[in-house]
């Protein structure tokens, strides 16, 4: 299979809204547990990551109560009555209650960390999730999770038989479902969404495909005749409604891969211009500006240009009147990816260069000496 074929195949998987083949998925999960010498878990199917959180929190609460009961019994002198089995239960309960800690059984030291890393990270984030944005942010990063499943690469790194079987099982799971959270005695499995809207981002170079080391040595291109691989990343994207919706109704709104509050799209005409200058998250702020349009934002806030540097990466210093706060200053600047951002800066800033230097808290000469800004 060529790289392009492999990428296309996984993109099709990523875009799929088909229900999972539950039998096949559960068989793969059981294989994984067997490889790690754990008993088969109870399979808990959920319709969305939001439902997974509810379920996991319920489990957590129940386990906390159970743990407290056990502790109470122990305090009442029941320790001597507690056999090995109860002791193990207590241990498990204590572990599971520590949701952000050593929860997942697959975080065992012998598990390939670099394969697991992202998955683990997002599981942790989902565990402590409180806002729609974080949930959806985790969702669209699923694309990242898929990348390591290239069999040649993984087999070249993990040559032992168990690793190979483990990766096969993980690939089966990845082809069938959305997220999954393995626990010692239960595994939460999330069905794919029922609706998904995506677009392709701009072409960008990528590092050499793992396992495809033609012309490459340790990540360095040594044969200039080998073209550098590129790709067009997939992103959740819809200007008109949810970009992803699950079968329980949970949905997330995203524009060009950036998760935004639902109201921004559902009531787009009510989106206030100052949001495009002051929203706390810079990526969302940029999207707000795109939704409203700079041609509307600047006149409505009486914006004037204080200083414009010829280098768009140094930027343009603007002054605008925010409601209840006239005369605020902003640096409109292009980042290395070609996107335009706006950063609030102190009113004392007189030039775009000074404002840019202030944002990094460095002398202006550092900005002029930058060898690259990517």
């Amino acid at each position: 299979m060529t790289r392009e074929e492999w990428v296309a195949a996984w993109r099709a998987v990523w875009s799929s809204c088909l229900p999972a083949d539950r039998a096949q998925t559960e068989a793969a999960i059981k294989d994984l547990y067997r490889i790690h010498r754990f008993a088969e878990p109870a399979m808990v199917w959920v319709r969305s990551p939001a439902e997974a959180i509810t379920v996991s929190q319920t489990i957590r609460r129940q386990l906390a109560i159970a743990a407290e009961d056990l502790r109470s019994n122990m305090n009442m002198g029941a320790t001597s009555l507690m056999g090995r089995e109860q002791s193990e239960v207590l241990s498990t309960v204590t572990t599971l209650c520590n949701f952000d800690g050593h929860l997942a059984v697959f975080d065992a030291p012998n598990f390939p960390k670099d394969v697991l890393g992202l998955n683990f990270h997002y599981r942790r984030r989902l565990a402590g999730i409180s806002e729609y944005g974080e949930i959806a942010a985790a969702l669209y990063c699923r694309d990242e999770l898929k990348m390591p499943y290239q069999p040649g690469y993984l087999r070249s790194h993990y040559r032992d038989l168990n690793a190979s079987k483990m990766l096969d099982a993980r690939a089966i799971i990845a082809r069938q479902i959305w997220y999954w959270w393995p626990f010692r005695h239960a595994c939460i499995l999330c069905e794919r969404p029922e609706y998904l809207e995506i677009d392709e981002g701009p072409i960008q170079p990528v590092e050499p495909f793992p396992g495809d080391d033609r012309g490459w040595n340790g990540g360095r291109l040594v044969d200039p005749l080998i073209p550098r691989p590129t790709r067009r990343p997939l992103r959740l994207h819809s200007f008109t409604g949810p970009a992803v919706r699950f079968r329980d109704g949970f949905a997330a709104y995203a524009v060009r891969g950036v998760v935004v509050p639902p109201a921004w799209l559902e009531e787009r005409d009510k989106l206030a211009p100052e949001v495009a200058l002051t929203w706390s998250n810079i990526e969302q702020r940029r999207i707000a500006a795109e939704l409203i349009g700079w041609d509307k934002i600047l006149p409505r806030l009486n914006a004037v240009v204080i200083d414009k540097n010829p280098n768009p990466q140094i930027g343009t210093l603007l002054q605008a009147d925010l409601p209840n706060s006239p005369g605020e200053r902003f640096l409109q600047v292009q980042c290395g990816t070609g996107r335009t951002f706006v950063l609030p800066v102190p009113r004392a800033m007189l030039t775009a260069l000074a404002a840019n230097a202030w944002t990094y808290n460095v002398p202006e000469e550092y900005i002029l000496k930058l060898e690259a800004r990517t």
């Binding site: 990063c141 810079i282 800004r373």
Partner: protein
């Protein structure tokens, strides 16, 4: 991949070569072996420094950390789209371009996070 000898920036993170770790600032070694997150992102799109021996030191200032290494360090942005191109922080710099592992002195890079003005004063740029 862009090569940096002295000063470079990747999104909201700037890397400035310095002679040595500061001796008047309390430092603490941050976790990570061979792969350290130099800039955490709320959405998980971290900026990560990758090198065999790379170490990251935190300071009392949450906007400033230090990377210490014997080797070139690749800084990658972990996002599948709108990705900032990787930077390679070269061990020897312009002065020597010392081949990795032959340099007797470690390279030290000051890592600065970008900030913006806020009603409270200033805050780290969040993405």
């Amino acid at each position: 991949m862009k090569t940096i000898d002295e000063i470079g920036a990747q999104g909201d993170v700037m890397f400035v070569r310095v002679d040595d770790l500061p001796d008047n600032v309390p430092l603490r070694l941050l976790p990570g072996a061979g792969r350290v997150v130099v800039a955490h992102s709320e959405t998980g799109h971290h900026h990560v420094a990758v090198a065999e021996d790379v170490q990251l030191y935190g300071t009392d200032d949450p906007m400033v950390t230090y990377l210490v290494t014997d080797n070139d360090v690749d800084v990658v942005h972990e996002r599948p789209f709108d990705t900032h191109e990787p930077l390679r922080l070269v061990v020897g710099g312009k002065k020597g371009r010392t081949p990795a592992k032959k340099s007797k002195k470690k390279s030290v890079w000051q890592v600065r996070r970008q900030r913006e003005s806020s009603p409270e004063g200033s805050r780290r740029v969040a993405d």
